[in-house]
């Protein structure tokens, strides 16, 4: 067993790229579910909107990188929020859940469809659209940075990601302590009560859906930039639940919850992943029990177990308090 590799991998999980992508997506979910009570199970599609917004702008349409950023962070997520929100936000919470999860499936089918290959690159996706981003990098491509954890380009993505995370967390903090944030929390507690006090619940929910979606899109776009590819496989339905676990783990409706949750989640996942891989490779776990492919599947099982046990045993997460949770009477 290679202890240094285990330590490095765990550290990268705790604050590396995956952590950043999913912390952003989970902050979006926190806006949706934590503050407004919206059950969005299609955050992966918002992430995809960010990724495809940028890559389709640059590769398919041949537009400028900066226009791609606007498409990916603003235009695509807004359109998506309208599609998901208009039919469901007047209805009970489950309907949004169903439509968002259905959107994930629609995305999968459409993005993989060869008939749209010209636009989306189908299953192979789109690549090489972030050169402008890497051209701005102050880091040397061949060098290692930050205790040797990240190579140059990776370091650039991670640094930009940290800065974006800091900005987004501050934004959410400021918004949630304003009267606007108060209305969102009221809607989460009881939408009818908010309406009876003259608040346009539908519109506030739509705003929350859009904003949270934009944060998710930001995470997805960074993910696409980090891998220089937008591919359907990176945004399948189950990806949404990585963000959900991060959120619940850290603490729902807490400003720092999603960030802390994503760090712990990816710390744990990266740790188990590399330990299992090393054990499989060195033959400690025989191939008849687990092979390389199956190690990857274990990660998803952990997500499933995480969701179940968190929701049952510690729904308040790391940062929440039991007392506050007990007040949740719906």
């Amino acid at each position: 067993m290679d202890l240094v590799a285990i330590l490095e991998n765990t550290a990268r999980g705790l604050f590396g790229e995956q952590f950043i992508y999913f912390a952003l997506a989970a902050i979006g979910l926190n806006m949706h579910y934590g503050y407004t009570g919206l059950l969005n199970f299609g955050q992966a599609v918002f992430m995809a909107a960010g990724a495809y917004g940028l890559s389709m702008a640059v590769v398919t349409l041949g537009l400028n990188f900066w226009i791609g950023l606007v498409l990916g962070i603003v235009v695509f997520p807004l359109i998506l929020a309208l599609i998901m929100g208009v039919p469901t936000l007047r209805l009970r919470a489950d309907y949004l859940a169903i439509v968002t999860i259905a959107s994930s499936e629609m995305f999968r089918i459409i993005a993989r469809s060869p008939s749209l290959d010209r636009w989306t690159g189908s299953s192979d996706g789109l690549t090489a659209f972030a050169n402008d981003f890497y051209d701005m990098s102050p880091f040397q491509a061949g060098e290692r940075y930050f205790f040797g954890l990240f190579i140059g380009n990776q370091m650039w993505v991670v640094l930009v990601g940290w800065i974006l995370l800091a900005i987004v967390v501050t934004l959410v903090w400021a918004m949630m302590r304003s009267p606007w944030g108060r209305v969102l929390r009221a809607i989460r507690e009881d939408e009818d009560a908010a309406r009876s006090l003259g608040k346009n619940a539908y519109w506030f929910k739509m705003q929350a859906l859009m904003l949270g979606g934009m944060f998710g899109a930001l995470g997805g776009m960074l993910r696409a930039i980090g891998t220089q590819s937008s591919q359907p496989q990176n945004f399948i339905t189950d990806v949404t639940f990585f963000a959900w676990v991060a959120l619940i783990l850290g603490g729902v409706a807490k400003i720092g919850g999603p960030v802390l949750g994503a760090a712990i989640l990816y710390g744990v996942l990266s740790f188990t992943d590399i330990v299992l891989r090393q054990m499989v490779e060195s033959g400690i776990i025989p191939n008849s029990i687990m092979d390389g492919t199956q190690v990857g599947q274990v990660r998803f099982m952990l997500i499933g177990i995480g969701l179940v046990s968190l929701a049952i045993l510690r729904p308040q997460g790391v940062l929440g308090t039991k007392e506050e949770m007990a007040l949740d009477d719906h």
Binding site: A5, E8, N9, R12, G16, E17, F41, P87, T88, R90, L91, D94, Y95, A97, I98, V99, I101, A102, M106, I109, I110, S113, P114, S115, D117, D124, T227, Q228, S229, Q233, N234, I236, D238, V239, F241, W244, I248, S270, D273, I274, E281, D291, G292, T293, G296, Q297, V298, R299, F300, M301, I303, G304, I305, L307, V308, A311, I312, D328, D329, H330
Partner: protein, 468 residues
């Protein structure tokens, strides 16, 4: 899915992961479009066509191919284009190339399902064609006794995948009617799966996302009994089905008792319950993937069947049997709900739980039975799905979304609504292939779901909610 993991562990330091990444990055760096094998690379390709009843060659578009390397990790995928051609560029090595049968259009199957996946060895600069002959029918014939054509199985470097036709007659099949019949078949199976979903929702308020896995579980269990066999003895599917229904029912009952009854007693919120059901859905799905593997498989029974030509449409005997079975079961369920005491109690609890409780109905017992019945029906639905299509670890999840569409259309929580809505969804999916590419047909159904919510959110048979 597999590539997902490779990318997610990109930061991983171990050699194998690194190699997989290198393969992916390599693939990504390649220009798209049909090019010749690159320096230092190789490719596997083919052209997917079949001959229709009139003998005309038809290209099959949108079929997904996956190449796995020897370690079993995915090295590349491709989807056949409008002309049926597909191509995967790979580094030299030995690969198993698999055609995803669930992406084949209805009515077309592999001639040699046992030759899928196909083993290919690629050396540098090599361009290999992989043979996946297709035939019309709802199952592949083991031997093509009645088909004149044969696959040209040359082992040259570039060979076109050829197809054979198993039907010689060209009768007046009407496409719309054929699709209607196919849709009815699909709808009946969705309905069978959806009744449990709807009743569980009605009696407990839980939108059970793990219901799809009951469907998968039924099908996979069928595979275990029928193909893998127990103690070396392969059980015929008909008898296996009885076992499956019992096991799935028992499983549903136990699931309710161990998890859901407890959560209800603790007064957990519905959102918490929903999240738990999603957690179980993922857990079950990946446990099944872990043991069953990522490849779609088929039962041993009912594979070889010639379709009857019934004038306006064709139907394989197994499909007829399947429709009859589902109809009988569904009518049985409906009349059970309508006339038996337990059925009435179920509807009463769905209607108004408190009222039912105060009028002396043992609500928890009713809920337990709903779980048992619902899961048993879902398991049966899984077997039927396995017979018409293929068995895969994700099948239940895909069906779940169609169930949602059906149940929402009919009205969440109403048993008859689920029946009715699911059948419409099935027919709609098949008919939609008249206008949209078959590989996107489910998008139509999901879009319909969205439109229903816009127009009539309470569904066709549902009623509006209570305020205040």
């Amino acid at each position: 899915m597999l590539r997902e993991q490779t990318l997610m562990s990109r930061a991983g330091n171990c050699i194998r992961a690194g190699m997989a990444i290198a393969a992916v990055v390599f693939l990504l760096a390649l220009p798209s479009g049909p090019t010749h094998a690159q320096e230092g690379g190789a490719e596997v390709k083919g052209s997917l066509t079949y001959k229709d009843a009139s003998g005309e060659k038809i290209a099959v578009e949108g079929v997904v191919f996956t190449a796995n390397d020897e370690s079993g990790s995915q090295a590349g995928t491709a989807t056949s284009g409008t002309d049926g051609s597909w191509l995967i560029q790979l580094p030299p090595g030995t690969y198993s190339v698999e055609l995803d049968v669930s992406t084949l259009p209805d009515g077309v199957v592999l001639k040699n399902p046992d030759k899928n996946p196909a083993e290919v060895r690629l050396v540098e600069g090599n361009s290999k064609s992989s043979l996946f002959p297709l035939v019309m029918g709802s199952a592949a014939p083991a031997a093509s006794e009645d088909s004149g054509a044969t696959a040209s199985e040359s082992s040259g470097d570039v060979v076109e995948t050829t197809a054979t036709v198993n039907e010689s007659s060209t009768s007046g099949n009407i496409r719309v009617i054929q699709l209607l019949v196919d849709g009815l078949k699909l709808g009946l199976i969705i309905a069978m799966c959806a009744i449990g979903l709807s009743l569980i929702y009605g009696t407990t308020g839980l939108t059970n996302f793990a219901h799809g896995e009951a469907v998968t579980f039924g099908a996979v269990l069928g595979y275990l009994l029928n193909v893998t066999g127990v103690f070396g003895f392969r059980i015929p599917l008909i008898f296996a089905t009885v076992v499956i229904v019992v096991v799935c029912g028992a499983f549903g009952g136990a699931f309710n008792k161990v998890v859901w009854a407890r959560m209800r007693r603790r007064g957990s919120s519905l959102v918490a319950a929903l999240v738990v059901s999603i957690g179980f859905s993922i857990l079950f799905r990946y446990v099944i993937l872990y043991f069953f593997g990522g490849r779609a498989k088929r039962f041993r029974d009912y594979q070889i069947q010639e379709q009857w030509d019934l004038g306006w449409f064709r139907l394989a005997p197994k499909d007829l049997a399947l429709m009859v079975v589902s109809l009988v079961v569904l009518i049985g369920v409906a009349s059970g709900l309508q006339f038996t005491r337990m059925g009435k109690a179920m509807r009463a609890v769905s209607d108004n739980r408190d009222l039912a409780e105060s009028s002396g109905i043992d609500v928890e017992r009713v809920i337990a039975l709903v779980w048992i019945f619902g899961s048993a029906l879902a398991g049966l639905g899984g077997v039927l799905f396995g017979v018409t299509e293929a068995i895969s670890w994700e099948m239940g999840f895909r069906v779940l979304l169609l169930m949602f569409a059906g149940v929402t259309l009919g009205g969440l929580g109403t048993a008859y609504g689920a029946l009715f809505g699911s059948i419409i969804v099935g027919v709609f999916i098949q008919l939609s292939t008249l206008v949209i590419p078959p590989d996107m047909k489910n998008v139509g159904a999901l879009l319909m779901l969205v439109v229903i919510l816009l127009v009539r959110p309470q569904g066709l048979l549902g009623r509006s909610e209570r305020i205040g």
